[in-house]
Every structure is written in C-alpha cells, then in structure tokens.
C-alpha cells in the first residue's frame, strides 16, 4: 500500500511537471500541490478525470495578513490509495477573481458561489452568479469572511437581488412553498414550476439558517470551538464534534488512544442508528402510513433514551474531547447497549417487514424521485443518496478513521436511485451498525480514553471527516496563533446533496415532493451553518 501511494504520487508529480509551482507531502495521507490560477482548471481536470479523484471539499481563505493573498484550496480524495491531494492557488487582493470550474465540475457550483459571497472573489465564467449563502438583501460589497469584517457589525439591508427561474406560457404554474412550513421543519424556500401536478423545475432557496458559524469561530480557542462544532446541527452533533476533533488532532499530529477510537466508533454508530431508524419512520409520513411513523418514533425514542442513560445526553453532545473522549463506559453500560440493541433489532425487523410488504407504500416509493448515477457523480453526492444511486462510496471504508479499519462491515449499494433504494440503504445500514457495535464490544481494548495535545503551531492545517447518517461530513481547519481558529470550513453531507434534490424532483408530481425530500433527509442547519 505504502509503495503504491509513493508510486501514485511520483507519477502525478511527473505528469504534471511544469504546471505546478510546488509539490509537498504535508502529512502521510495529504499532499499539497501549489498551482498558478491559470493552471487550476487543467490540474483539477487531470486529477479528477485521469486519476479518478473526487472533490472532497473546497475552501477559500483570507490569508492576506500572513501570506499576502487570498488562498483557495481544492481537496480531492483518492479512495483507492487512501490519499488526499490539496490543490492550492493564490489570488492577490488587487485581482480578486479566480477561474470558475463549475461549468465543467457541477459540484463546484455552490463552493464557488460561497467564496464569492463570503470572500468577495469572483469566479470568472460561472454560469449562475446569484447569491447563495447571503441572501439578496445583504449588501453586495460586504463579505463577512474577510478579516476586516467585524462580527459585531450590523450590515444594512438593501433591496433584494433574489431572482428565480422565469417561465413562459400559460400552462406553467409557479408554486412557492416556505420558508415557513406547516409542520415543525427547518426553513427552506422551494419554488416549483409545474404543469398541472407535474413538476418541471425546482428552485430551492436555502441558507435561511446561516448563522455565520465559520466567522464566529475565528480567533476562538480550539477547545471552545469544539462546542461550536457540536452545535452546528441537532441530529449530527456527534459527527460534527468528532470531525472537528479529528481536524485538530491532525493539525497537532497526535494519535488518540485505541480505546478512545473504539468509543468514538461506538457513539457514531449509535448516532447513525437513531437517525436511520427515525428517518425510515419519517419517510412513512410522506405517504401517510401512520403505523410506520409511530413504530419508527418508538424505536428512535428507545435509542435516544439509551443515549441518555450511557452518555447523559439524548443527542450525544459533550462526549468528544480534543484528543479522545471525555468519559469511559463500564460493563453495565455494555450490557445495557447490547440488550437494547437486541430489542431494537427485533422491532425494526418487524417494521421493515410490514413496510416492504405494504403494496401502497412500495408503490409510492418505487420509481419516485430518481437520481441517476451520472447526476450523483457529477454533483459528488455523498452518503445514503449516493449509495442508492449506485455510487459506491463510504468514507468509513474508503478513508477509515476512528476504529473503522478494525471492524468489518459491508456497504450496501443499490442502483435504482429512487425513494425505495434510499430507504433500503438505510435499512441495510441499520443492521450493519448493530453488527459493528457488537464487534466493538468483542474487540474493545483497555486503556486511556484521552491524550493531551501538544502545542499546535500557528497556521497548521488539519482535516477531519466522518460518515454521518446523511453522508460524509468534512471539517477543514487552519489554526491561528495561541491555539485558536484561523479558518474553519464545514462541508456537511447535506451541502453536497441539496443540489441533487432539485434534480431528483422534476418529472414527479407535486404531492410526491415531501416524500422525495424526506428520502434524502437533509438537515438545513448543517448545510447553512
């Protein structure tokens, strides 16, 4: 493996040759390539198309104070050799533009618009320059992630620049929905162009819950920023906390104790379990199947109560620490977890049997909201939605973290790409998670559960990633002086997957939208930050 990696990197270096300014192996699994702006497209194309890298995250950063320019990082993951390659390019303040690759790599659409909104760098040649993170009533010349922007500053509101798809012809009805909905749902504005009840096009306007968390974290001590990370989203609290902790540990080049790794794996799987089981129940609400909803809720509640008993928090907050976990669990907890899981396994099997043998339910789910493999690949869709469309990625297997390299599990992949495939992926993963937890208890080593962090040098970088119940969540971190945060970028699974929802809906009927939306089950808070 190690030899493969070396060979792989040497070949990339040779093939790129003159196009790159520098080539540095920063960490055993991360290589940095610095390129000039005008070579960016070519290098990215080479990495994606010839080397089959996939876009992992893209970060824009204001480094004028210590590097003299804005910097863009494009991180690609190479699952086969378990490598990351970061392509770095600089853009000075005087020339605040960068070449847009969105037309070629649709997945970059949102990242580039985010850089434009928050840092004020213009992606040249971008096909859709509407505001994304900041809504149209935010002044166009104020960019919160520039260092001169003060968090306490109140930006004046201007006349809205929001615009939506324009339709011609009398047959098309425009149906605006939200951002305030009838149920207790997070805010999102959806605008359907429909002919009768058939959807032609869906415009989704998100980022109503953008709280500027990345800006708020600037200058915050790392130990405090962990709490911020934990509060990005309610149902992914642990995934975010672990991702952040892993990013810090990577920046500090610290290895956490084995027992802590196992404990993190255990809690991450518990988080996946309550989410997946709750989601399976919730999808039933999309077609009014009350038995599914109530059974799903009951099982989810059992798991939340289990969380509270062993970790003291229903949504698993306050467990992770930088360098390990905050507490250990004892033998009575093992027994409690295993016996609860036995109960859950029986109840969930029963629910799945009822659901998958229910004619109307299966009819409503199959062939509804199809996301094709091509669409999923183009948008770099992750998680459940990716695996339901035949995109075989799971970061637990592809770039193992915590103790995932020590347990065995299979990654379910379906090719239909419809609601039924997405619910099936979740169902299969529930049983895999239960099996993983059982393996953990067989293998669980003894020892410490945390390790102290060495001092972290300023401007060190680290990345942490977790396969949350929604898909891979990536935290990109650059430390500042005195162990603070300099730049923190959260790319949640939902950020990658939201654009896919808009592609899966057209062609379906309007009353099927809630079902399709539920089958992706994307958090807004995770995406909006």
């Amino acid at each position: 493996m190690l030899k493969n990696k070396k060979l792989f990197l040497t070949r990339i270096k040779q093939q790129l040759g003159e196009k790159i300014l520098s080539f540095t192996i920063r960490q055993p699994n991360e290589t940095e390539i610095v390129v000039k702006k005008d070579q960016l497209a070519e290098v990215c194309r080479f990495l994606c198309q010839e080397k089959e890298g996939r876009l992992f995250t893209m970060v824009g950063s204001d480094e004028r104070e210590f590097a003299g320019s804005f910097v863009l990082y494009y991180v690609f993951s190479f699952d086969e050799t378990q490598q990351f390659i970061t392509v770095k390019t600089m853009t000075p303040e005087e020339d605040s533009t960068f070449p847009s690759l969105a037309a070629e790599f649709p997945a970059l659409n949102w990242y580039e618009r985010e850089v434009k909104d928050l840092l004020g760098l213009r992606p040249q040649g971008h096909p859709d320059l509407r505001p994304l993170i900041l809504h149209g009533d935010w002044p166009e010349e104020i960019h919160p992630l520039r260092k001169e922007f003060d968090v306490s500053q109140n930006a004046p509101r201007v006349k809205s620049r929001e615009s939506f798809m324009q339709y011609e012809g009398d047959e098309v009805t425009e149906i605006p929905v939200g951002p305030i909905h009838a149920g207790i749902i997070e805010p999102g504005h959806f605008r359907f162009g429909a002919v009768g009840d058939t959807v032609l096009y869906l415009d989704a306007r998100l980022f109503f819950t953008h709280r500027g968390l990345e800006k708020a974290s600037e200058g915050m001590p790392l130990s405090k920023a962990l709490f911020l990370a934990e509060r990005i989203c309610g149902v992914c609290a642990l995934s975010h906390a672990v991702s952040f902790a892993q990013a810090v540990e990577a920046a500090a080049a610290v290895e956490i104790p084995l027992r802590a790794k196992y404990l993190r794996t255990l809690f991450l799987e518990l988080e996946r379990l309550y989410n997946h089981i709750g989601d399976v129940g919730n999808i039933c609400a999309g077609f009014g199947f009350a038995v599914g909803v109530s059974q799903g809720t009951i099982l989810r509640e059992e798991l939340l109560m289990l969380n509270e008993r062993i970790a003291g928090h229903r949504y698993l907050r306050g467990i992770v620490d930088l360098g390990g976990v905050r507490f250990d669990i004892a033998h009575p907890d093992y027994a409690d977890i295993l016996s609860t899981l036995n109960k859950i396994e029986i109840g969930f099997t029963e629910l799945v049997d009822i659901l998958l043998s229910h004619d109307i339910a299966v009819d409503r789910m199959s062939k509804t909201g199809i996301l094709t493999l091509k669409q999923a690949n183009d948008l770099e869709v992750v998680g459940v939605a990716a695996r339901a469309s035949g995109r075989n990625i799971d970061i637990r297997r592809d770039q193992p973290y915590a103790a995932y390299d020590k347990v065995s599990f299979t990654v379910p992949v379906y090719t239909e790409g419809d609601v039924l495939a997405r619910i099936r992926v979740r169902i299969d993963e529930v049983f895999q998670s239960i099996s993983i937890i059982r393996q953990i208890f067989i293998q669980m080593p003894t020892g410490d559960v945390s390790v102290g962090l060495p001092p972290i040098s300023p401007y060190a970088r680290g990345m942490g990633w977790v396969e949350s119940s929604k898909g891979e969540t990536v935290h990109w971190l650059m430390t500042g002086p005195n162990e603070t945060v300099e730049r923190y970028r959260v790319r949640s699974a939902t950020y990658s997957n939201w654009p896919a929802v808009a592609l899966a809906v057209p062609g379906n009927i309007v009353p099927d939208f809630p079902l399709i939306n539920k089958s992706f089950e994307l958090c807004y808070a995770c995406c909006d930050r």
Binding site: T173, V177, D197, F287, A290, V291
Partner: protein, 317 residues
Amino acid sequence: MLEQMIQMAGWIVLQTAILLLLAPLVQGLIKKSKARLQSRIGPSILQPSYDIIKYLKKDAVISDKASWLTRVAPYIAFTAVITAGLLVPTFIVNAPLGVAGDIIMVIYLLGLARFFTALAALDAGSSFGGMGSSREMALGAIIEPAFLLALFTVCLLSGTTKLGQIVQVMSGKEWALIDPSYALAFLAMFIVVIAETGRIPVDNPDTHLELTMIHEGMLLEYSGRYLGLMLWAAEIKQLIMLNLFISAFLPWGMALDWSSIGAGAAIFIYGLKLALLGILLAVIETAYAKMRLYKVPKLLAASMALSVLAVIMRVVM
C-alpha cells in the same frame, strides 16, 4: 295542522342538534381510535368539539387580496351541509325534511358546499388553495358519479329515490336484504364514504405537508370562526355520509315511530352503528397508506364498476 307544524319544527331542531353535536364526537372517536391503533394515547374524544368552540371564539384574519366570497363561502357551505343533513334519516325511518327532497338533493347540496369551498380556496390566490381546489374538483368529478351509481343500486332495490321510503323498504326486508348485489353496492358505497370524508387512501386529514393536501389545502387560508365553520361543516358532512350509509345498508333497528321504547332503543343502536363505522374507518386509515394522487381515480372507478355490477345483478336476478 298547527300541532303537526310544531312537531315538524321540533323534529328539525332535534335533528339539527344531533348533527351539530354528534359530528365532532364522531370525529373525536375516529381520532382516538386511530391514536390507539398507532400506540398513542391520543387526545380526548371531546377535543374536536373544544377545537370548534375555540375557533368560533376567535377573530379571523383574512387576506387583503380576498373578496367577499371568502367571507360568505363558510356560511353557504355550512348551511348547505346542514340542510343535506336534515334530508337524511338518523335513528328514525324518516328525516325531518324528507318531504322536501330526495337522495339526489342530498348529493347536490353536498356538491354545492364543495363548489363554494373550492371557489373560496381560489379567491385569495394562494397556490395551496389553488392546488387543493383543482385536486378536489378533479376528484369530485369522479366521486359524484360513483356516489350516484352506488345510491342508484339502492334506489333500484327499493323503487324510490326518497330516503325515508328507501329505509322503510330496506328495513322491511329484514335479513333478506343481504344478497350479492347488496354486498357489491355496500363495498362501492364504502369506497365513496372514504373518498367523500377525505380519508386515507384518498386524502390524509392529519398531514402537515401542504403539497400533498386535498381538502385541507382548501382551508389553509381560513382562520378563526371561518375556519371553525369550515371544519364543522366537514365533520357534519362526514356524519351525513355515515348516516346515508347506515340508512341504505344497515337499516336494521331503526325506529318506525316516536314511541318512547322504540325510539330509545333506536337511538342506542344508531350510536352503536356510528361508533362501529367510525372505528372501521380508523382501522382502514391505519392499515393503508395514501395512494399516489393519479391512482385515486382508479379506486373510484373500481367503486363504479362494483355499482354497475350490483345494478346488473339486480336486473338479471
């Protein structure tokens, strides 16, 4: 003559009171049964009544884009539904307004209420109202013929369209009533009851998902007393559908006159039938899921096919 008129007036008041008070109770019973079937405790049976009292006390907020139609429609719908209710027998073989109209009158009074509800939903220009009314009218166009066909089978059985006489003829048949054509018409009518009361698998009365709504979608613009009236009208309509079903298919045990013992027993039996039907609706609603919108017409077509078979069987046998 005067005595007869007083008697008539008294009967009208009594039946109106039954409709007004019983309708929310039936709704409460269905909700409670559903909750129990879904492993929930559920709200009290009286909750829908409390809700209506609450709404009637509240002031209404009305869109400034809405015309007088929005204000008037709830009263029209409510009156039409109550009038229809006075044409349908409950526990006694005749209805107070039985002399004034027949089965067809009932169907079209309900149609009138549907028409004004749909019109008012379009009035404020909200997209949910538009979607709700377009779906309601599209389905209504199929529900109404299915409804008529199912009732015609009964009319054919009894040789009249007058509900009072139908009930007399039907209950006179005792157990001989049950034959294959009765069973087919029973099923056909039951599907219509589900569709007309806006229940699963046709519509989902409990959903908060605006995009999937049919009947609820039309009420989204309403608030306060207008909403109260609309909800009450919907609950009364549900009771009327059950009354119709009981009159046509379960006429046993209905009182033939006002003798106190006969009427007392009949009221008890009527309550029992309503409760059983309510629970049956709750069971169906729990066991099924909502169908795809464009498959609903197929369900109603099935109802029509059953009715046609019932008619043929009646004529042939």
